[in-house]
Amino acid sequence: MNAPFPLPPRVPGTDTDDIVIVANVSRHFGGRRRFLSGVAAPVVRAVDRVSFRVQRGTCFAIVGESGSGKSSLARLVVGLLRPTEGEVTIDGVPLSTLDSAGLRAMRRKVQLVLQDPRASLDPRMTVFDTLCEALTVHGLHRERTERLDRIKTVIGLVGLNLAHLGRYPHELSGGQRQRVAIARAIICEPEVLVLDEPVSALDVSVQAQIINLLADLQAKLALTYVIITHDLALVEHMADAVGVMYLGRFVEQGDVGEVCGAPRHPYTQSLMAIAGHSAPISRDRPAPVLEGSIPSPLAIPPGCSFHTRCPLARRLAIGATTVVETADGRVPRPCAENPPPSLPAPGGRSTATCHFADERLPDFDHRSNIRN
């Protein structure tokens, strides 16, 4: 544990500016036969053929509801999960070429910050121990003074002071804890930070502090962010590119300005409508409501997986000739039967995976008829 771990060499020819490359990655859970009973557990397709690239120094956001697979995707990027198929390449090194020790060494470059700082710090370790552990694990700064210097630097970077070093997590406030979590993540000078809902567990007033801190750190340390969130406002504020996830797949991805400014997929459109940052806000203009809830990943609907809730499909079905009667209402035949194509936007800076990506979203009635 004391020797600095050599990082694996880059694969030649992949020396691009894309520090994270996720190529056609899938991750399925279950399906294994159970011990003794021999019954195969059902397969959950948590992540299904997802691809994206993140440019060095930028921020990529993954947006989705719970159950969409966004947390699994984050863990695939960090290498905590091995993909069932596809390849994750970090800084030119395909993760599949690494053994478990190599993966551990690679984590110096890719760090994960979790949602709930209260739970993500070991309650029995002081801030100092927590920070030290990161250095010990990677065999960095083994000299005591060097180590102290590094810890001092980092603690200052995240806006804490030396007095906090001797404290235990429960002696810190939520915001301070998240600062510690961030400090632990950056102490080994990583290049990529994967942030899993970094502010959603915090109080409103503290959220803004952390968001600002993240922005400062990115600028200062030239970090690359992959941020997982359900909050489109945060995406618009922080991210350069975004992937909107629904049932394990990206339904729309691309440049934030384009995806958020002019969403083409009906799901993104609904999310944007709900986000409702447009002031002035008032109850006289109720936001459109999306029907039903996200289906179980055990039973992903055929065709376009969004068709069970898609307002656009409902609307289109009214005039269409090829209509299928489903349990959730009438939808155009392609939606219910064919996987949707990924259509690039006219500008080419985003794609939407929808049969009718370029149809205009109708002003649908928000009165919902719930079936699930």
Partner: protein, 655 residues
Amino acid sequence: MSIMPNVLSAPERAAPVDAFAPQSRWLLLRRILSQPKGVVGLTLVTLYLLLAIFGPMLAPQDAFRQNFAQTLRPPSAAHWFGTDQLGRDVFSRVLVGARATLGIGVGGVAVAFLVGVPLGVLAAWRRGWIEAAVMRAIDVMLSFPDIVFALAVVAILGANMQNVIIAVGIVAIPVFARTARAVTLSILAEPYIEGSIALGANPVRVILRHVLPNISGTLLTLSTLLFASTLLSASGLGFLGLGTQPPFPEWGTMLGESRSYIRSHPYLATFPGLFLAVSALAFNLLGDALRTIYDPTSRRVARRPPILSLLRRRPPPGEAQQQSAEKATDLAVSVRGLRIAYRTGEGLLEVVRGVDLAIRPGRTLAVVGESGSGKSTLLRAVGTLVNPQEVAITAGAIRIGGEQALGLGPAALRDLRRRKVGIVFQDAASALNPVLTIGNQLAEAVTAGSRLDSETVRQRCIALLRDVNIADPERRLDMYPHQFSGGMKQRIVIAIALAQNPEVLLADEPTSALDVTIQQQILVLLTEIQKKRGMAILLVTHDLNLVARFADDVAVMYAGRLVESGDVASVLERPLHPYTQALRASAPGGSEGRGRHLRTIAGEPPLIGRLPSGCSFRPRCQRSANRAECASSEPGLRAVAGRDVACVFAEEATR
């Protein structure tokens, strides 16, 4: 770094007491000693340990010296505990036997611990076939009656102290392995384990540095509890003739040997028996005390002071009469001067410090605030659901639908709750009883306080489910909560709340556990129902977006007080209190623009009971800037520009 100075100047926060907290040995000791059973247990255990160490030296006589002329003598000055069947001094034997007895307990537990814990941790860590194999092996061991198992082990290995230790240790292995596996599994599910793995730590490190320290509390507790049962197992072996070797004294064997004298010479069994039972008791007490510390579920609330229980019975003094003069009857909810405090070990801690609220029928009032601002406690108090053993309403009045809600007897209280109040909690999953069908839980709400035939009840339940837009209600009645999605569960909770046509619906963050798309559905549903039934809604939330969309009025709460309240349009569009302003501004997106720094409120919300003097928002307030007025007294609400604001300098914002 603009935020740094603010953070550094933030007031030092005191450590809240936390059950999961790591602590120095002294802290653990303090917490053991704070419980009566901990004091007794620890004292006795310490005494026993001293006895085990010094016992043989203290023995006044040779514990092995036989004297056939002096057998079976009752206690006397020469032999405090009498003599045994060989004429040996029982007192000396008890003292000398302490070491062997406690040695068996310690040894047995150590054997079980050293084998069981690694097995359990391994099973939890590796899962798969290893886990299956370990669990099967444990099943096999458990299916042997333990005394029989120990009997066989001693019979095979031979009866001596070492083998007795091994036997009682082996018997206890399954318990350790099972517990270790269970707690390890729960620890492994903790995010900090994933955090450590994500950091690049290898498995050995994760187990040694993170898993073991965190399961140690539970295992320590278990060890003390098992210590007692190990002693008893060993004594059972002695009873069956397979205990330690005579003549060496050991309490269990002494007790077993003397059991035939229980009638003729009762003192012979009494002393070793007492020492044994009391040692088991001592370790059980200590274990219990430790469990109370480590097991959050066994934490007990502070005892209710008798005086306060009297207070609860009658209306709070003073204001109640005064308020009745107002036309409170027009209001669905009227709260005046409400003060609520938690009962803690250090006395009462105020969480709500004088709140006035009024909701007219058909209107929605949103209470907005950060965690710890007291908003949820306020809501529960209005719903008459605060637990009087934990929470005291020290002053003020609550009227619901014109009726006094405080100081009611149990029957009147039930009646009020049934007729006037419906409540919706944040977590629908925990708001529904997992073991009862939806139909059952709805029917309970429908029939409470009335007698209806079952068909009527059923129809009424179906109608309620329809009201909350649940399709196919007939079938759903027989389903259990876990068979529904989160959004559906929340609808059911709403249906239950609506069962008796309440005048006011209390909603505590009803959507914050739900996905955005579902949130929307639920709130729209609530609004529709409100329109239909004309009831008042008290909505507690931290999400200004929701307030803007769904509330008529808003009350912003900070540190147990309202700092600004009024109708939504005026408060949110032109907030006057610096806190409301900051809240509005700190949300990302919208007007702030991408990539720019957000405006932040410096520091963190204050802790209950540790409020700064003067205006409680003062340390975080940019407007205050060390003005003396802010520090001198806490500003009350006053009407400014169409709303109430609690800020001395509210007018500055209107300019």
